[in-house]
Symmetry: C2
Subunit: 427 residues, 2 copies
């Protein structure tokens, strides 16, 4: 890690800057994939799966036999763990379900709002270097709680033509309707526009590589909703001398092992803490199977010695970390002063892994500073809200002067007339 | 209007299809504008305002003198109307403000969520053929309720170099921090990236023409959030023989006068109703100052005779109208069966104009079928949610086996270790 001591506020912009990704060439390749899927459907999925995943795709839909096989291949220990995680995630995500809200804004004018499930949603689960069955929990549980009637999932098959067993088991456990063995930009295109076997959906969720992210941005132009723009995962830790340096090091490494492009930021008001954390990172990383990935990520990462925790908080509010660990005294008060972050972990025992898997919060979170304006995935992400209004004769009588004045001032005579004709009818 | 009688379900796809817009050429022109603003800031804004709005832009920021002049130029009648509308919109939008939600998902594992204002937001208010001060109400009121600390607004100046007086008056009334006399794609670029005088914001709201919409989609790629993709405005009316054909005609015309690309759809199970509405449209449109615009819109619009109201509901759920008027008997029951719409107007007295101006609901709504997955603008649109978790020693003890099992199964050893090291420390 690079160590920066007492940066000035002018240096912050450089510190919070994430590496830029040039998407121009990528953009054309993804556009070509989308065009191919739109014009040739399942045929295109077969060709592209062969080309990119090395998988021969006979039948994209995962069969009941494959689910049964997956069930047999998942250990009882993992099944039990998944049950606990599912229960915690359900408890937390169920808090969001709300009754309709109604108010009479003016006598005779009733307004209300109601949240309804998005009927058809698509979940993308990457395979890559680690099977991400935990992401199935994080997407399928809120989709089911929201009441989505069609929850499809795409995940690339390996060279053996199969989707990871734990991924399939978790999909079944959490109410996914159908799973398709398709990955990459072609999966996003299939869910956006439909093929002979893959149905089109209204909103697409899930992480993925640059191709997947670019495809999500491209299909958005055709009115398909997406969960959020996604970039490399990141963690920031604010630590003071009440932290356990070994814990902080473990947390930084757990983020760094995601990929060489992971972002890791350590802020402390104590040089000793920074030194001890760096020493612990050296020690612990020796023991990690993914130490090469973690080392690559850490080479691009930064430890910052700040003059005070308050200054650290200011910098963190500019940075807007996806995950923010507060390994400080009185973490509750510090958390209250954070206004930009995806998810916050308070105190020495709240490691990011807890939220990644089983505390109950969602791990699909805004990266790359998007936490300034975006929220993580929640049950609300799988719903949309309709507003309603009902005016009685009294309502028209009371509001007509207001509406007619405003419509006339906007020069919209037909808008004014729609009220005037009713007002005159009532008399 | 085109009249279609008893279409089969196969015809629906054609009926619900909105006109496609080819954005390729547009896309390059908008990209060039964005590049110019990013590299030359205020200088670019001056050149582009001259070029596109014919306005000489000396100082982009609207001054206190200009606000005072606007105040003097708005009638007391309009000011009173704006106060009533503001009060209704505030009442409805305040319903959304929520206390943080907290739950102990497992003993020792506390999870909660808190909604916080997006600190900096930008509102775009087009000028064009009608001054849209009502949109200022619809964006600035929820922004202020949400608690956004910086609420800037861009609106193009006319050839006299001034922004519409009612627009400025409403901005001041509703808590807009600063107004800039900039329009079009250049305004979106300025709010996304900042210039010498226009600050950059985290989320951009507001309607606009194709240039504005395209610019919003392009800046989204740099992590700027936008309210929603926007298309031409639209209304669908479901009417049975309890409707007042003159009211329905007035509602269709009020939508049609927005622009020649407005979408209007009438569904009825009664041929008589359709005939009477069409006759009324002829009669009423003669009296409208914007009748040419309305006629153009109606030429592309459709009246559909359906075999039953149930069938009408099914078609409307496929269509997902921005505005949906239910001029039918027992509108409440019918409204309950609608799952896709932006805002619903129940019964003969609930005209779209009411929601456009003053009932209390928001008029910034998803168009072009986006209501299948998007909600209209609300107070929540100006907020984002942070999730939190705090584990005690007990929490680690209770959850460690679950997290370690799952992390190991995903092959993420550093994730497992972050929990194991704490578990071992506690002993």
């Amino acid at each position: 890690m690079n160590v920066i001591k007492y940066p000035t506020q002018e240096d912050w912009l450089e510190i919070i800057k994430r590496p830029a990704i040039d998407t121009r060439e990528l953009s054309e390749r993804v556009a070509a994939i989308i065009t191919e899927v739109r014009s040739d459907g399942d045929g295109a999925l077969r060709r592209l799966s062969q080309k990119y995943d090395g998988a021969e795709l006979k039948e994209p839909l995962v069969s009941e036999e494959e689910f049964a096989e997956a069930d047999a291949n998942v250990s009882q220990e993992l099944k039990t763990a998944l049950e606990v995680a599912k229960s915690n995630i359900e408890k937390f995500h169920a808090l969001e379900i709300r009754e309709p809200q109604m108010i009479e804004t003016t006598p005779g004018v009733l307004c209300w709002r109601r949240s309804l499930p998005i009927q058809k949603v698509g979940l993308y689960i990457p395979a890559g270097s680690a099977p991400l069955f935990s992401t199935v929990l994080m997407l399928a549980i809120p989709a089911t709680l929201a009441g989505c009637s069609e929850i499809i999932m795409c995940s690339p098959a390996g060279e053996d033509g199969k989707v990871n067993a734990a991924t399939l088991y978790t999909a079944k456990l959490c109410g996914v309707t159908r799973v398709f063995k398709v990955g990459g930009a072609q999966a996003i295109a299939a869910m956006a526009y439909g093929t002979e076997t893959v149905p089109s959906v209204y909103k697409i969720f899930g992480p993925g590589n640059q191709y997947v992210t670019e495809a999500k941005l491209q299909v958005m132009r055709d009115g398909i909703a997406i969960d959020m723009p996604a970039g490399p995962s990141e963690v920031a830790v604010l630590a003071d001398d009440t932290c356990e340096p070994a814990f902080v090091a473990a947390d930084l490494l757990s983020q760094a092992e995601h990929g060489p492009d992971s972002q890791v930021l350590l802020l402390s008001n104590s040089e000793t803490v920074i030194d001890e954390v760096l020493t612990e990172i050296e020690r612990q990383s020796e023991l990690l199977p993914r130490r090469d990935i973690a080392s690559a990520a850490l080479r691009n990462s930064t430890a910052i010695l700040v003059s005070s925790l308050d200054e650290g908080v200011d910098l963190l509010n500019e940075y807007a970390a996806e995950h923010l660990i507060l390994a400080v005294n009185n973490a509750e008060a510090v958390a209250d002063s954070i206004v930009n972050a995806g998810s916050i972990f308070l105190g020495n025992y709240s490691c990011e892994s807890a939220g990644d898997y089983a505390s109950g919060t969602n791990h699909t979170l805004p990266t790359n500073g998007a936490a300034r304006a975006f929220s993580g995935v929640s049950t609300a992400s799988f719903m949309k809200t309709i507003t309603y209004q009902q005016l009685s004769e009294d309502g028209i009588r009371n509001l007509a002067p207001v509406i007619e004045t405003m419509a006339a001032a906007e020069g919209l005579e037909a808008h004014r007339n729609a009220v005037a004709i009713r007002r005159e009818y009532i008399g």
